[in-house]
């Protein structure tokens, strides 16, 4: 018998424990991504090319290189400068930074879709740039891109197993430890896979629901 049910049930609580770390890393990483993404997006829109161009280059750079290397980079390089990050923090920052660049693109699309007339009307009303952004532009730019952001939330979640490479005790790392101590890999890794599948399917369904609701609001 390849699959051992009693073993699977035995390790389930251990994996459930580890999944909490996965979920924490996902939530913290995504909050960071949302904030950094907005910062990137706004800086890229800066009038001065001395700000816009380096930021654009940095965003392209982070987007085009592997997350795994970025995780290593943060984890191993910072101690050289005397800043020691624990593995979890380094991992969350790397996730947030990497997906921040994706979110930046999404925000940018959202901002581009706000009609020019909204800017002109704000100028005509003599609103400051800050208030124009906060009260007029952002509230119109964000709702339509919520589904796209949601997709990146799921994508970020699916990349958390990379944190196992720097020994963060999340799901994948726990599964590997279980596998190496009992030499039974099939149950832990399959269970981890099922956990991700379940979460992704539920999340995708939720995103589609939000999308439909937004469409209905938009149609009104």
């Amino acid at each position: 018998m390849l699959w051992d049910w009693s073993y699977a049930f035995e390790i389930l609580p251990i994996l459930a424990q580890a999944s909490l770390v996965t979920i924490q890393a996902t939530l913290l990483g995504f909050v960071l991504a949302l904030v950094l993404g907005l910062v990137f997006a706004l800086l890229r829109m800066a009038k001065s090319p001395w700000i816009a161009l380096p930021v654009a280059t940095l965003v392209e750079f982070i987007r085009s290189t592997p997350l795994l290397i970025q995780i290593f980079f943060l984890y191993f390089v910072f101690p050289e400068f005397g800043v020691s990050l624990d593995a979890f923090t380094a991992g969350v920052i790397a996730l947030g930074l990497h997906y921040g660049t994706y979110c930046a693109e999404v925000y940018r699309a959202g901002l581009d879709n706000v009609p020019r007339g909204q800017w002109e009307a704000s100028t005509a009303l003599n609103l400051s740039p800050f208030h124009t952004f906060r009260d007029i532009i952002i509230p119109q730019a964000i709702p339509p891109v919520v589904p796209a952001l949601g997709n990146y939330f799921v994508a970020l979640f699916k990349e958390t197993p990379l944190l196992s490479a720097i020994a963060v005790l999340e799901l994948m790392q726990q599964a590997k430890i279980l596998g190496s101590t009992t030499f039974r890999y099939i149950e832990p890794i399959t269970l981890v896979g099922l956990f991700f599948l379940l979460f992704s399917l539920v999340a995708s369904a939720l995103i589609r629901m939000v999308e439909r609701r937004l469409n209905r609001i938009g149609a009104r």
């Binding site: 390849l2 161009l53 654009a56 280059t57 392209e60 750079f61 987007r63 085009s64 290189t65 592997p66 997350l67 795994l68 290397i69 970025q70 290593f72 980079f73 191993f76 390089v77 050289e80 699916k158 990349e159 958390t160 197993p161 990379l162 196992s164 490479a165 994948m172 599964a175 590997k176 596998g179 890999y185 099939i186 890794i189 399959t190 981890v192 896979g193 991700f196 599948l197 992704s200 399917l201 995708s204």
Partner: protein, 242 residues
């Protein structure tokens, strides 16, 4: 325009990185890293072939195949899009041997990454085929072509053009995900970086060079896909007229 800028930046920073590295006495890193880069490029190319084949078969099966095949395609797409690339890689690496199937790590790497990107590619194929105007299908019916003939000669060549930019993005994702294979003992670029880091502790230099090499490969992919797109659009002579 942005892309051209990016390429310039990539090339400049790559040469700058190389220069800095050699002047500062990091020359010993370069050959090892370039060997690793070669493995990374091999996996990316082979994975891309697997991905394109899987995506085309699954995407078309999801649209046109009889229900058992269609169902299979949907399961494949959802399964590989719904779980992590790393989980898939480990599953093939650790679990397949338990079924008596032992594959070389390189084969596992190419299969896992190819299947993963292929699942995303299937949606690209489906979307591009669905976007071909209905009138094109109607014209093939009026000319008494079979569905297969229509798909192969009329619909797919038109969908192909629309597929190129999203495939460019997927190939970059593929390149990035090749770093995962270092975790199943393949000595790709990421693996070499880790290894050198552990022996020399010149972390900043090594990882900077490695990131720049990845960026350079990504830029080549981007530029190549741009060129392909321009050629494909040129063959269709800009737009479909009225």
């Amino acid at each position: 325009m942005v892309m051209r800028k990016l390429v310039v930046v990539a090339v400049v920073s790559f040469s700058a990185g190389l220069a800095v590295a050699s002047f500062a006495g990091f020359r010993e890193f370069i050959p090892g890293l370039l060997e690793g880069a070669l493995v990374t490029i091999q996996i990316t190319l082979a994975g891309a072939v697997v991905a394109v084949i899987c995506a085309t078969v699954a995407g078309l099966a999801k649209m046109y195949a009889p229900w058992p095949l269609r169902w299979l395609a949907v399961v494949y797409i959802e399964l590989f899009r719904g779980t992590s690339a790393l989980v898939q890689l480990f599953w093939l690496f650790f679990v397949l041997p338990l079924f008596g199937v032992t594959l070389a790590p390189m084969t596992v790497a190419i299969a896992a990454l190819g299947l993963n990107i292929g699942a995303y590619g299937a949606e690209v194929v489906r979307g591009a085929v669905a976007a071909v105007p209905r009138g094109q299908w109607e014209a093939t019916t009026a000319l008494n072509m079979s569905r297969t003939q229509a798909l192969r000669r009329i619909i797919l060549p038109q969908a192909f053009v629309a597929m190129i930019p999203p495939w460019g993005n997927l190939f970059i994702e593929l390149l990035k995900s090749t770093a995962l294979v270092s975790l199943i003992t393949i000595s790709d670029l990421a693996f070499r970086a880790q290894q050198m880091n552990q022996t020399t502790f010149r972390t900043l230099e090594i990882f900077t060079i490695v990131l720049v090499i990845y960026l350079a490969i990504a830029s080549i992919i981007t530029v190549g896909m741009r060129a392909l797109e321009q050629k494909a659009v040129g063959a269709m002579v800009r737009g479909r007229g009225h």
